[in-house]
Structures are given as C-alpha cells and as structure tokens.
C-alpha cells in the first residue's frame, strides 16, 4: 500500500462503451521469452518428436477454434484461423525448427520461439500494412505451439483459470486465439496497449458488450503499479489508482448505468408505440455477425445499418464473394424475419487496404464510398453479388452510401439489375424485389431528396456525416467541435426536407446517425415525422422508453417551433424545456 503510485490517467481509443472498475488481470503473452535450455545429443530425437506432436496438437486446436468460431457465426474469425493453419503447415518452417533443435542442442520451445521471432521481425519491417500485420499471426501461432509444448504450465493460455472473480483484462494485444478464452462472466472490461478501433480486442468487446479502451500508449509501463483500474469506454480514459473522489464519481456513474441497464432490459419487451398509438421501429446499427445476439437481446426490430467496413478492415485479405456471402447470409438467417439493411462498403481513401486506398489531401471530400468502388469494379461486383445472394429470405435491403447526385444512384441500380440477371442465369436463388435505398448524408442529396425518392425504395439519414458536411466541421477535430452542432437549424431543415420528400413519394425513411440515440433529439425527430430509428443495440430500450411517453402531434408542434429558430442554442433550449416537461429530468429511470 505504501509505495503505490498516485492517480494516473492514460488516454487511449474508446473501443466499446461503458465503465468498468476493478482489479487488473494481466493477460500476458510473455511466454515467447523462453530461456535457452540445452538438450543432450541422445535426447534430440525425442525433442523433435515432442515438437511434431505439439504441431499436431496445435493444428487440432486451431481446427476446433475454427469450428467453434463458425458455429457462433464468426466467419471473420474462422478465416483468420485458416491462415494460421497455413502457417503451421509450412514445411520449410518445420524443417527450420528441427534443424535449430539439433544444430544448437536446444529445447524445442526455445527453437520455435527463436525461429518464429526471426520471421516475426522480418514481417514487422515490411511497409505494406497487410503483410506487416501477419507478424501478429506468426506470434499467435508460435505462442500456441509453445503452449502445447509445455502442457503442464500454461501461462496466460486459459483466462478462466487465472482470473479471480471478475477482473479487467489488461494486455498488450488480444489475438484471435485468445477470443475463445474470453467469457463474459469473467470479464469486466478490456484494456490493451496496442490496436485501434478495428482491432480484435475492439470487435470482441463490442460483441460481448463490455467496456474497452485500446491503443493505450505506455500502458505496460504504468499498469504494473496499479491495484485498481477504471476504464471509461466512452472517452477512452484509463485511470490507474483513482483517488477517492474520482472513484466515487465513476462508481456512481457505473451504478446508475447498471440500474438503468436492468431497467432497460425489462423495458425492451414492451412494444414501441407512442401515447397516440403510433408504431415506431427501433432498429440497430451493427458491424459484425456477433452483434446480432445483441439485436435479439435488446428486442430491436432489426438492423437499420449493417456497416461492412470492419469486416474488410479486420480481415486478412480482401474478402471473397463466398466469404462475404457467408457473413451476410448468417446475419439474415439469425435475424429473420427481422429486416437487415446492408450498407455497401463505405471506405474512404484513408482507410482499408493499402491496395485500394488512395492518398488524398482531403480524404473526406475525396474518393469515398461509391466513388471509390466504381474504380474497383471487381470488388464492387463481388460485394453486391454476395449481398444479393444472401437475400433469398427477403429480409435484406441494400443501401447506397455517400451519394451526391442521381447519376451515382442510377449507376448503382443498373449494376444491381445486371448482377441480378447474371445470378439468375447462374441459378442462384435471391430476392428479385430486393429493396434499394440511399444514405442521405451529403447536403446535395438532402436538397434533391425529392428527385432521389423517385428512384429508390427508402432513405436512411446519416446525421453524423450530414452534420459535418453541412457545417464544414470534422467531428473528430476537437478544435472545431463547438461548430459541429447536431441541433444546428441547417441540419434540422435538411432532415425535415428529406423526411418530407420521402413522405411525398410514400417511401420509408430511417435515421441511423448518433442523433437517433440522443434523448433530447427523439421528440424533435418524431415531430419531423420520423418513424424509424436505428441505434447501437443497447440503446434500443432507451429510445423506446422515451418514445412511449410522447405524443406525435405534440412533437409536431415542437418540431415546427424548432424549424423556425436561427441557432443551435435556441433549438437546444426549446428541446430541453419540452423534455423536462414531458419526460422529467431523469428520463431513463
């Protein structure tokens, strides 16, 4: 107790929302620092046999993990294991390890670690990101082999054994093979030193709905001195040895959240109707197959936005048509008869594969979404084919992202028609009436929504991008965060125009930006005529609770009043007042 460090706050990337307070469990991948032990000549042969047996064992385990991953719908993870099998089967590598054992008279685990480390280092040096990331796979496979060479002593390999009750897992990084060890019963949260929003740790924690902060620089340097940790999955903060006042305030937030969650779950079984009996759809935004469980758990009406980018970013190579089909089909099957809107890959020039990305001065105004995909016809085609092939249950719709003009809509539609023809010639079953929608997220699209509405089956308003493009303020840039205002009248007018255009053509319109989950915004959006909200799965009951206390006609008055205002501040104050009256200060109880 006496030489503990004081409160220390580290900053990382917020990867999964929520607050966790607890003791750290160090999930260490340290076994690669194997000490050198000599083996006498007469035992060399035995040592080699031991190594070969460990290879077989490892292979079996990888196959088992792959099977489990596929069963749970983790086609993404299953693919990673495929490449691990390729590594383990590499005959040249096997021979190298055997040679190392006999040449240097060493223990097989030392030989494996030495040889693999050499490869790892070589891959880390490669400039191309795809290839350099293979170093992680090598490390993962190497760790598994070594673990199987020392079956009695498995440091860190089985989380459930070492963890004391529920703890926060602290690690350098989370590898695919670790995934199977994680179980929500033991896990308060995850903090890692490396990784970003698309890392394995981030995907896993979102799917398990535990708070996570990743990419925390110099975590390992400080965390050993911590006996208590707080991770704030909203802001990306990690607090080591919190002082009493910090502890109390987080404890309170956490307590409120837990109560709320309990309450929410009870709420989620109730129908989502307003006081005047208007049925409202509350859909979910998801980005992996694993999250479909949360859609069901929170009793969401379906998926309003399936982001496909993470599938590509977290994958080892560009996903083939079949790989993608398996993923989309799994989501469709798991959620049937709920609807699933799949967004066409919306990658910017700053994202994804080195192969595809383009260097641009201003990527957010550059080659993004369809603009980029039209330049990669093969990728676009396999992507669309996979989505359409997965549509035979008739619960899938396609949404076109980042549309600025009608030409893009028509071009995409024509391509879809062509692909449908090809698929039917090839004998694939699919939904011939598959619905096609457009994301309204570029101001020009909102302005000509009446024209676009004639060409498509539905709209989804992406308020995050719409706001940043209307106000010319990057939402990730702290220096202009005061300009990025969700309640700016210009944003509200654009939403209004879009909803009106959709109503006139009698097509469906949803809203899938963060705004759909802001309590204050819900009465306004209802008043503007929105009947379909799409939010992070755990927010579904929160939205529902608010909706059940509102009357659409009253909200209509409110919306008209807001549309007349000249500033965000004026709108906010009207909304706060309304909210206070209708819902009370604490809407979430």
């Amino acid at each position: 107790m006496n030489r503990k460090i004081r409160e220390k706050i580290l900053k990382g990337v917020a990867a999964s929302p929520g607050i966790a307070i607890g003791t750290p469990f160090f999930y260490v991948h340290e076994i690669l620092n194997i000490s050198r032990e000599t083996v006498p000549d007469h035992d060399i042969e035995n040592e080699i046999l031991k190594y070969k047996a460990a290879l077989e064992l490892t292979k079996d385990k990888i196959l088992e993990d792959k099977k489990n991953a596929s069963k749970r719908g983790g086609h993404e993870a299953a693919k990673i294991f495929d490449s691990h099998l390729l590594i383990i089967d590499d005959q040249v590598l096997i021979d190298e390890v055997i040679y190392f054992i006999s040449e240097h008279n060493v223990h097989s685990s030392y030989a494996v670690s030495k040889v693999m480390k050499g490869y790892q280092a070589a891959f880390e040096k490669i400039q191309n990101q795809y290839f350099s990331q293979r170093a992680f796979d090598i490390e993962d496979v190497s760790r598994r082999i070594i673990t199987n060479l020392t079956p009695d002593d498995k440091p860190g390999s089985e989380l459930s054994k070492g963890i004391k009750g529920r703890q926060i897992v602290v690690s350098d990084n989370i590898f695919p093979s670790d995934t199977v060890n994680f179980n929500k019963d033991h896990l308060l949260g995850i903090v890692t030193e490396f990784g970003g929003k698309t890392s394995h740790a981030a995907i896993l924690s979102r799917a398990l709905e535990v708070p996570a902060v990743v990419g925390v620089k110099s975590l390992s340097k400080w965390v050993n001195k911590a006996s208590l940790l707080i991770i704030d999955g909203y802001s990306g903060k990690v607090i080591l040895n919190p002082r009493p006042s910090t502890f109390e305030s987080y404890k309170k937030r956490q307590h409120d959240e837990e109560k709320q969650l309990e309450n929410d779950l009870k709420f989620s079984v109730l129908p989502s109707i307003t006081l005047d009996n208007q049925q409202i759809s509350i859909l979910s935004n998801i980005q992996s197959v694993l999250e479909t469980d949360n859609v069901i758990k929170w009793n969401s009406d379906g998926v309003g936005l399936f982001r496909t980018e993470i599938l590509f970013e977290s994958s080892l190579s560009i996903l083939s048509e079949d790989d993608q089909y398996n993923i989309y089909n799994e989501v469709s099957k798991k959620l049937y008869p709920k609807k699933v809107i799949i967004r066409i890959l919306d990658i910017g020039g700053d994202k994804l594969n080195d192969k595809i990305s383009v260097k641009e001065d201003n990527p957010f105004l550059g080659v993004r979404g369809m603009r980029l995909l039209f330049d990669h016809p093969k990728l676009l085609k396999s992507h669309l084919r996979a989505i359409i092939r997965a549509s035979s249950r008739k619960n899938i719709s396609i949404i076109i992202p980042f549309v600025a003009n009608l030409t893009e809509v028509k071009k995409t539609k024509a391509l879809i028609t062509k692909i449908k023809k090809e698929l039917s010639d090839e004998g694939f079953p699919f939904d011939n009436d598959i619905r096609i929608g457009v994301m309204i997220e570029i101001p020009s699209a909102a302005m000509i929504a009446d024209h676009i509405a004639k060409a498509v089956d539905f709209f989804s308003i992406g308020t995050n991008d719409l706001t940043q493009y209307v106000l010319a303020a990057d939402r990730g840039n702290e220096r202009v965060s005061n300009i990025y205002e969700s309640f700016h009248p210009a944003v509200i007018r654009m939403i209004d125009m879009t909803i009106k255009a959709a109503a006139k053509r009698n097509i469906n319109v949803g809203l899938c930006g963060q705004m759909a989950g802001y309590p204050l915004a819900i009465p306004l959006l209802l008043g503007l005529g929105l009947r379909e909200f799409s939010v992070t799965p755990f927010l579904v009951p929160v939205v529902k609770k608010i909706i059940r206390r509102l009357d659409t006609e009253e909200c209509g008055y409110l919306a008209r009043k807001c549309l007349k205002q000249g500033s965000s501040r004026a709108v906010s104050s009207i909304l706060s007042e309304f909210f206070g009256k209708k819902i009370g200060d604490n809407p979430l109880q």
Partner: protein, 88 residues
Amino acid sequence: MVEEQVKIINSLGLHARPAARLVKITSAYDCEVAIIKDDMEINAKSIMGVMMLAAEQDSFITIKCWGPDEENCMKDLKELINNKFYEE
C-alpha cells in the same frame, strides 16, 4: 536450372491465399524452387517465405527451379501467376 522473370498481375499480389496456391504447386514438385524479389531470395515451398516477399500487384519476381522436373514446375507456376491465381 531454369530461371524466369514474371510480373504479378492479380490485384492482391502474393497475399495469403495466392501464396498458399503457389506453395501447393511448388511442394508437389521434386525440384527446388526459389523466388527472388529485390534483394530477397526465399524458398518457394514456404508460404511464410513467399509472403515475406510482400509482392504487390505489378511487381516483378524472378523464379528459379532446379531439379528433375524443373521445366514443368516453372510452366505450372507461370500459368498460375498469369491466370491471376484463378481468383479473379
């Protein structure tokens, strides 16, 4: 020994899957196979080696085969690469 320079034309380059296909061929032959790119030379029967070349689209690699069935092996490899690894 036969030696030839080949251009990688598939869009992914020697990613995991194409590399696996290449190794499947080289492993089926008795001859030795090496691939050289820039100043790196690797054993083409190792997928790790092949990936380590980080050969992207439009890059050139030099293939060397030596052994009893070197001619056929070279022929198969060229066919694979020129047919974009039968993936596109």
